[in-house]
Amino acid sequence: MEYDLSATVQQIRLAYAEHLMRCTDLPPAEMEDLLSLDGDLDQARRWLALGYAKRRYDPDHVRGLLVYLFSNYYPSLGDDPAKGTLLRRAIARKRVKLSELTLEKISGTKLSWEEVFQLVRKEFNPTRVKERIIEIYEELKGADHERPAKR
């Protein structure tokens, strides 16, 4: 079987996102090399920014943002209307925890922010969280530009 590095790295990045969501993620410093195996440093920095933001600020805010992102923007394979109904029902009954979710379980469910807040069990300002993540990304980008100059 032919080894596809870019596919493997994408698996690693999405697995990292899943572990961030379930709060079973490894420290970003340990993930740096794995996330940039294909040489796409910009994409790796974006994922690392999420990891650093989760550790620097309230982790539940980043986890909630990831749930919203994957629920609304990740393409779902095939038609599965029961998935969204069951997830919404579980959220309403408080029978689902973030630590049990996967990308597949939330993709295509189109959760609203209210439902995400119910799932995370706290409310936050998504715009503020997004700004913070992008700020960290800019920091990482700046640090990477400075690194070769120092050498």
Binding site: A15, L69, A82, L103
Partner: protein, 235 residues
């Protein structure tokens, strides 16, 4: 603010490159898919390596496989549809109730069952209290018979009439000093009935209060209308 921050969702959406292949090419068994749905698969970091364990799937491996395999996605969709169909309709009604009402109704049901069991124990298992009558003393027994009273004699004849055998008389007439049952204390009556009535009223009030669009206690007419709604509950 930089250009990135202006279009921040675009920035995040660029992260979501759909998977083309999953870590594991073999399909998970039905049991694995069932365990995946129930969240019973182990949550370990095992991505980027080929597992030698063909049966042991992790949560992420199963998730990524279903995201890339149309057959498994269809199978999972069927399993979810079946789960949805087997959910009883009363669960939906229950879920629509506000959390406070659900908690109150649950406490009401559990409380009534427990109190009923306690009440039944007090009434049926505990013996009712007895009071021993004062026995006639020896002098009273030795006292001569009362003067002849024709009415008493008639009564005694009535009691023994037509029967040439001894009649079992009640204790009050037999002259024996046996204990007699005393009136039951309040704890040994069926007080659960009162608890049931009062608590049902409270639950009804709670439901009505929540059902009203906005609690406005200052409006006299609405409170009158609301109290009318309690009539069937009180009845």
């Amino acid at each position: 603010m930089s250009d990135l921050q202006k279009d921040d969702w675009h920035w995040f959406r660029e992260l979501l490159v759909p998977l083309r292949t999953s870590v594991r090419s073999a399909h998970p068994s039905r049991a694995v898919l069932h365990a995946y749905l129930k969240g019973q698969l182990p949550d370990e970091w095992r991505v980027g390596v080929h597992s030698l364990d063909l049966n042991g799937w992790t949560l992420t491996e199963a998730s990524q496989h279903v995201l890339t395999c149309r057959d498994c996605a269809q199978q999972l969709a069927l399993m979810r549809q079946r789960e949805l169909e087997h959910t009883p309709p009363w669960r939906d009604l229950w879920d629509r109730l506000p959390g406070a009402i659900r908690a109150h109704v649950a406490a009401y049901a559990i409380g009534l069952v427990v109190l009923f069991a306690l009440n039944a124990f007090f009434v049926m298992v505990l013996p009712s209290p007895m009071v021993s009558r004062s026995c006639p003393s020896g002098e009273e027994r030795a006292r001569p018979e009362q003067p002849f009273n024709s009415q008493t004699a008639i009564d005694r004849n009535l009691r023994l009439e037509g029967l040439n055998r001894p009649v079992k008389l009640p204790d009050s007439l037999s002259g024996e000093c046996l204990p007699v049952p005393a009136p039951r204390p309040l704890s040994q009556t069926w007080w659960i009935g009162w608890v049931f009535l009062l608590w049902t009223l409270l639950v009804g009030l709670h439901i009505l209060w929540n059902a009203s669009p906005e609690p406005r206690p200052t409006v006299a007419t609405s409170s009158v209308m609301r109290s009318l709604g309690l009539v069937p509950i009180v009845v």
